[in-house]
């Protein structure tokens, strides 16, 4: 699997960078301002990709955790661990950009809105996942408990997604749903480029971090073997 990551990660990184560059150009330069929000609408092109990628990151974490509990493959555990680390960055990014967008549009940095609260809980679950992994000495137990926590925490995913439908919230409802697409085409294209770019970037980052965790463990194991040999 590590060999596969090393072989294809560059393609994900390069295509992600190209998509983001195109998305940035269209989002910041070519697309028009919104009639109600004005220029501030351009925050959407970075906020929405951050948010959707963080949801995807948690989805990947859940699947990887289930896969680990089934197969007990340490590399899958590395993948889950890497996804959580990257997920923290994307989830924090979504909250930061959302807060910055909220100030000029809602006149507040933060409000106790269902979408915002459920999203913050998602971030806390991810941070809790990473903290749990630092508390347990035994690697196998650490991986198992973390996988269980990730699977239990996945209950927050549908709450985050449907919070704007289930409750009366300040956050706008889903722009792309079964009801149709509520974004003008000229604004949709930069959003699609940025979102695809962020997904590819996320895949690339997970690949890099999975390798990093795998190599760290490999090096620790080798050094451990060396010490064992010395002491014997």
């Amino acid at each position: 699997m590590i060999r596969w990551i090393r072989k294809y990660e560059g393609w994900f990184g390069a295509s992600g960078a190209i998509c983001i560059a195109i998305g940035l150009y269209f989002g910041l330069v070519a697309s028009p301002p919104d009639s109600y929000q004005g220029e501030v609408v351009r925050i959407m092109y970075v906020h929405v990709p951050f948010a959707s990628t963080s949801m995807t990151a948690y989805g990947v974490l859940t699947v990887a955790s289930l896969w680990y509990l089934w197969k007990r493959d340490p590399i899958i555990d590395n993948l889950a661990h890497a996804t959580a680390g990257i997920g923290v960055f994307f989830t924090s990014g979504a909250l930061f950009t959302g807060s910055i967008w909220g100030k000029p549009t809602w006149n507040t940095w933060w409000t106790w809105d269902a979408r915002l609260v459920s999203f913050t809980i998602l971030l806390l679950i991810l941070i809790g996942y990473l903290m749990l992994r630092t508390f347990i000495e035994d690697k196998e137990r650490e991986a198992r408990y973390a996988a269980i926590l990730a699977i239990v925490g996945a209950v927050d995913l549908p709450i985050v997604h449907f919070s704007v439908e289930w409750w009366r919230t300040l956050h706008q409802p889903l722009s792309i749903s079964q009801r149709g697409v509520a974004i003008a085409g000229v604004m949709l294209y930069p959003l699609i480029f940025m979102s695809v770019g962020f997904y590819l970037l996320f895949t690339y980052m997970v690949g890099v971090r999975t390798q990093m965790l795998y190599l760290q463990q490999l090096l620790e194991a080798k050094k451990g073997r060396l010490l064992g040999e010395v002491h014997l």
């Binding site: 967008w101 890099v208 073997r225």
Partner: protein
């Protein structure tokens, strides 16, 4: 490691290019002038002027359907006449950007379009969040390369054939 630094140098170059294009567009299409600058410069072409619609000044001319109001900024007041699409955002004591030309004969600003305040500070702040993400990726990639080198140099580990090629 050389290729790694060259790649990141290229990425920084592309990033700076996007910043330059964005700044150019901001200066050309977004950055507004104050009423004082408009009165001083007397530009022939259309300009963007930022100011607050003075309380009690907004009225509609029934004969021409034009909207008449005064735009204020730093104590300077400019009479503005606007005839265009239904201006949803045009309200008293609201800060707006009007796009148009200064009519020196009539001593008033003829607006063709009305926009909200650009608020570019918020936009820049939101996009700056991508910098820590890039730094995080840089640190991870660098660490991976260092780990590969460390493992490669370690005499304990014998890589599989073709693993590090």
């Amino acid at each position: 490691m050389k290729g790694f630094y060259i790649r990141w140098g290229g990425l920084i170059f592309v990033g700076l290019w996007i910043v330059a294009v964005g700044t150019q567009r901001y200066n050309r299409d977004v950055r507004p002038l104050t009423p004082e600058q408009v009165l001083k410069d007397h530009s022939d072409g259309p300009v963007r002027m930022l100011g607050m619609v003075e309380a009690g000044s907004l009225r509609k001319d029934p004969a021409t359907s034009q909207m008449l109001f005064s735009l204020m900024e730093n104590g300077q007041r400019i009479p503005v006449v606007y005839q265009g699409n239904d201006p949803d955002n045009l309200r008293e004591i609201k800060t707006l950007v009007v796009v148009g030309v200064w009519d020196d004969a009539a001593k008033r600003f003829v607006a063709q379009d009305i926009h909200l305040i650009p608020n570019y500070g918020f936009i820049i702040a939101a996009y700056l969040v991508m910098i820590p993400l890039a730094l995080f990726l840089f640190m991870m990639e660098r660490r991976v390369r260092l780990l590969y080198n460390e493992i490669k140099q370690s005499k304990l580990y014998e890589p599989e054939v073709g693993e590090f090629e």
